[in-house]
């Protein structure tokens, strides 16, 4: 049987259902987002982990140097379960008319490698026999519609060699098709991977194996083994060493998943805080209005504990009603999100687990948030003095002039009704503060989401418009004389061409190492600008090396200090760090061509050319003309890359759209509750004003003004808090791959503020409509309205 107090609880909730629904929905959203994001994160991590185990994803990759000796050394280490040597060659591919920069990765024929196994999704794994049968990596196969039996060409030496597609494969190394750590974003037109027989790979490079890949016992990371083997491998000439975590594809995906993890915490926190504030405001109002009832309960023998429990119920109930379905929906949604994500990224294995801890944790978060919100008013209720409460005497805050009136005395002479509005703001300071906090939280949510768009948009503009001045990069099949680069300008449509030489380099300083690429550019390059970390633009210095700013921390180095550069060619040089540059994508090293040639003692070739288009050029035709040149391996149009990234942004827009809707819902819930309570608390005043002849629309105006004033007070604080939250959120994504510097457009601040104003205006409509329904005779006669 339902006890009377429980019945009262339900009826009270029914009576104030709009406010309680707002709280419940906010909790539902917060808990739902948590469940969805956290389980998606857990599933994706589990998917990556399981993929790493099942496909024996290398714990450590050591490139360059004496690979045979490195492999022997690794084999002797008891913590290393499998060692493979292989040949990896960056070489030109030709699929139909399209030339692209390909990567041929050597694999044993007959049996899968013991490290970095492949998932053959179509066709068969190459058997012993024809070395010209290859597996094409999934992204390339999809882009070029390659199926088993098709052929394409690989540049071997000076001639194209036809190979047959034996199958399509997924690899843990290329789930995200990154060329290298400095080239995370590629287009399938310009980069593709094929797994070729080791024999063919060696014929491409003309050398023996150039990489050693290691799989540790049970695939578990082991820092000690990594440190020991890395150090030994460096001594044996290895130039590019990276762990599974640093592996370009895995690193990019981990960064992505990290965002999900942060979202799983940040956004639900916002929602639950908002729900808590809304619940607090609502329950405080209830307790205030029900003081005579509370006095009566206590006078009739209810214990203070019973009263406490009763009013805690106003928090627990919406907490439970919001969080149980929220958690269930969130956890179910996570399964779909996980599958969508792994499907889009072609992750070989999808792990979708049920995590009871997420479900229980999500429900607990929701209930705890609303319970905490109810605690303070419930304690107030339990401490009511019965005699005083039954007399209906509610402790009334003494009126006082508003802060604005005290600061600006002329305001004391504005019409009395507007003075009332000003003072209404400070009438219930706690509620005003909570409403302001609500506005702040909403703006934080909006700015963090919107800030991501602005920042990424800015990042792209900075990288592709301000820093990279070239319209395209032409990759050569092999080292090419600078004269040939200059000859590119003879082609119609090419306005300028600059030679670039890119070499793998291992930077070392203060016992720290960082593998990247060294780019040699003309001293007076006009196709690449260098953004100083101080904010200005600099030229390539005649002496010293210019480094990406991430190396400052990675190598613990400052400008003026010396860095050791071990080039992939086997040469080791010491150079002074001339400056650090602020580049959003990648962390490169740059030197001027004159300096590089002086150090080398001879003229240096180019591995690529940066070209600028003439106005009105037909980029596609130009691409065809340039790629027809025999020495050209690939042509990367910066605009295509830019457009590709813009397309990725659609996902961001969708995400921000959802967050804006959620942020609006959250702001609505909080402001609606706060304003409803504000209006409910003054029904007697409203009725009195109506009785003495004030028009309803005038009263609506005063209340609107008061509510908007409170909302407006929250806006600047929200913009500041939102800015810092967005900055913190963006910097958490920073790595040597990406440097996110928060950039929020002024219009974003303006639109976010306007959105809050609109939400505030909308959220008080129900309260203002209630004014129309006020019964003057009833209210003016009540002891406490």
């Amino acid at each position: 049987m339902v006890k009377p107090l429980q019945r009262k609880l339900w009826r009270d909730i029914r009576r104030h259902r709009a406010q309680f629904i707002a709280i419940t929905v906010t909790i539902f959203l917060g808990v739902g987002i948590f469940g969805a994001a956290w389980d998606s994160y857990s599933n994706l991590v589990a998917s990556y982990d399981q993929t790493a185990i099942d496909y024996r994803f290398a714990n450590l990759t050591l490139a360059g140097g004496d690979t045979a000796a490195i492999a022997d050394l690794a084999s002797d280490n008891p913590g290393v379960e499998s060692v493979e040597t292989r040949t990896t060659a960056d070489v030109a591919f030709r699929v139909g008319d399209t030339k692209l920069l390909g990567r041929a990765v050597g694999i044993p024929t007959g049996d899968q490698p013991t490290v970095n196994r492949l998932d053959v999704s179509a066709g068969t794994y190459p058997s012993n026999g024809d070395p010209a049968v290859v597996l094409v990596e999934d992204h390339m196969a999809n882009h070029f519609d390659l199926v088993p039996g098709d052929t394409f060409d690989i540049l071997v030496g000076d001639s194209w060699q036809a190979v047959t597609v034996g199958g399509v494969a997924l690899s843990p190394e290329y789930i995200w098709p990154a060329r290298d750590r400095q080239d995370i974003i590629t287009t399938p037109d310009n980069f593709g991977v094929a797994f070729v027989s080791e024999e063919l790979a060696r014929s491409i490079t003309g050398t023996s194996a150039n990489e050693v890949v290691l799989y540790y016992s049970d695939g578990e990371p082991n820092d000690r083994i990594t440190a020991d083997l890395s150090s030994a491998a460096r001594d044996l000439g290895a130039t590019n060493i990276y762990t599974r975590e640093e592996q370009p594809s895995n690193n990019a995906l981990t960064e992505d998943v990290k965002g999900l993890e942060e979202m799983a915490i940040f956004f639900p926190m916002m929602f639950l805080a908002a729900a808590g504030l809304a619940a607090y405001v609502m329950i405080s109002r209830l307790v205030h209005a029900q003081r005579p009832h509370i006095g009566t309960f206590l006078a009739n023998g209810f214990t203070r504990r019973q009263v406490l429990r009763h009013y805690l119920g106003y928090g627990v109930l919406p907490g439970l009603i919001g969080s149980i379905p929220g958690a269930i929906v969130g956890v179910l949604l996570a399964r779909t999100i996980t599958r969508l994500y792994t499907n889009i990224l072609s992750i070989p294995l999808t792990v979708v687990d049920f995590y009871p801890a997420t479900l229980l944790g999500a429900i607990a978060f929701g209930v705890i948030a609303s319970l905490l919100a109810a605690l303070a008013p419930a304690l107030v209720a339990s401490r009511v003095l019965p005699a005083e409460a039954m007399r209906g005497e509610t402790p009334s805050g003494g009126g006082r002039r508003s802060l604005l009136e005290r600061l600006i005395p002329p305001l004391r002479r504005i019409p009395t009704a507007w003075r009332m509005t000003l003072r209404g703001v400070g009438r219930n300071p706690r509620r005003t503060i909570y409403t302001i906090i609500g506005v702040v939280l909403s703006l934080m949510l909006v700015l963090v989401s919107w800030g991501m768009i602005d920042t990424v948009q800015n990042l792209m503009d900075r990288q592709f418009v301000e820093i990279q001045q070239e319209d395209a990069t032409v990759f050569f099949a092999g080292p090419t004389a600078t004269e040939e680069v200059a000859a590119l300008t003879d082609i119609d449509g090419v306005a300028a061409a600059e030679p670039a030489l890119t070499l793998p380099v291992a930077l070392s300083a203060n016992g720290e190492h960082y593998e990247t690429a060294l780019m040699v550019l003309p001293d007076d390059t006009e196709l690449h600008r260098f953004a100083d970390v101080g904010g200005g633009w600099i030229d390539l210095p005649p002496e010293g090396v210019v480094l990406g700013q991430a190396t400052r921390d990675l190598l613990d180095i400052e400008a003026g200090e010396t860095v050791t550069m071990a080039l992939g060619t086997g040469t080791t040089l010491n150079a002074e760090v001339a400056a650090f540059v602020d580049e959003p994508l990648g962390t490169m090293a740059y030197v001027g061509r004159s300096q590089a040639e002086a150090l080398a003692g001879s003229a240096l070739p180019a591995t690529s050319a940066l070209i600028a288009y003439e106005d009105g050029v037909d980029a596609k035709a130009l691409r065809n003309t340039v790629t027809d040149l025999p020495q050209v391996a690939a042509f990367e149009d910066a605009n295509v890359l830019f457009d590709l990234m813009q397309r990725f942004m659609i996902l961001f827009y969708a995400f921000v759209g959802v967050m804006l809707v959620f942020g609006g819902a959250m702001a609505f819930a909080l402001i609606f509750n706060s304003m409803s309570v504000n209006i409910a608390e003054r029904t007697r005043e409203v009725a009195t004003l109506l009785a003495v002849g004030t028009e309803r629309r005038s009263i609506s105006r005063y209340i609107t003004a008061e509510n908007m004033l409170v909302a407006a007070m929250g806006i600047p604080l929200g913009l500041i808090a939102g800015h810092f939250a967005a900055s913190a959120a963006m910097s958490s994504f920073n790595s040597d791959l990406f440097t996110f510097k928060l950039h929020i457009q002024p219009t974003t601040y303006l639109l976010a503020s306007l959105a809050i104003v609109v939400v505030a205006l909308i959220s008080q409509i129900p309260g203002l409509r209630a004014i129309r329904r006020i019964s003057i005779p009833k209210i003016v006669k009540e002891r406490s309205a």
Partner: protein
């Protein structure tokens, strides 16, 4: 301003749940009369006051105030009527807690066509609050708050003053003082006053005493010599 009620019914609810708060009430109150309406709880006293104040509408019958049929007024007309003709004094004062005594009075004064803001201080002085005008309601005693409420009602110089249990929340001495104030003001300003109370002793101060029971006027008597409110006891 004269008040005339003819065959006034006020019913709340419908069908078998209908409650007749007023039943066929006829009443004529001439200008300048102080009428005390007596009756127990639920007798319809406040309902009668609300109908005259146009904060509620009759179910049947007619109320004319100063020759105007209140039923003919639309919502805006009712607002204008209350603004120009009626001053309310409530049992629970109903002051705006965020406004000082003066500002509470000014708030209503601002509504008047001749902008009675300048009168606010005078009216407060008249009710004996000259030295308390900048105090907020929470800083005033119950009697003082009720005096502010009276000042608020008077500031727009309404021809009709409607007082609903104005001493209901006050102690004896303060209550008597408030009643004397109302009596003095009505005499000075020749206002029509309807004063609702359940306290029979207060009836002696009225020019006229109406007794209501179950929504009907059961007695309508005139005091030949109304007593000074300050001499009443109960």
């Amino acid at each position: 301003m004269a008040i005339e009620m003819a065959g006034v019914w006020k019913t709340f609810g419908e069908g078998h749940t209908a409650v007749h708060a007023l039943k066929d009430v006829d009443f004529k109150g001439p200008q300048g009369e102080l009428a005390v309406i007596l009756g127990p709880s639920g007798s319809g006293k406040t309902t009668l006051l609300n109908l005259v104040g146009a904060i509620d509408n009759v179910t049947d019958g007619r109320i004319e105030v100063g020759g105007v049929d209140l039923a003919s007024l639309d919502v805006d007309g009712q607002v204008r009527y209350r603004r120009e003709n009626v001053g309310f004094v409530f049992q629970f004062f109903n002051l705006i807690p965020t406004l000082t005594a003066l500002e509470n009075v000014e708030l209503v004064a601002d509504l008047t066509a001749d902008n009675g803001t300048d009168r606010a201080e005078d009216v407060l002085a008249k009710v004996g609050l000259a030295d308390r005008i900048h105090h907020f309601p929470a800083q005033l005693s119950g009697g003082e708050q009720q005096r502010v409420a009276i000042a608020r009602a008077l500031v727009k110089q309404p021809p009709i003053l409607l007082c609903d249990e104005p001493t209901g929340e006050l102690d004896f001495e303060t209550g008597r003082m408030i009643l004397q104030l109302l009596q003095d003001i009505s005499r000075e300003q020749n206002q029509t006053v309807l004063l609702v109370t359940h306290n029979a002793a207060i009836g002696y101060m009225g020019d006229r005493v109406l007794k209501l029971r179950s929504g009907e006027i059961v007695d309508d008597a005139r005091n030949a010599t109304p007593r000074e409110a300050g001499t009443l006891t109960w």
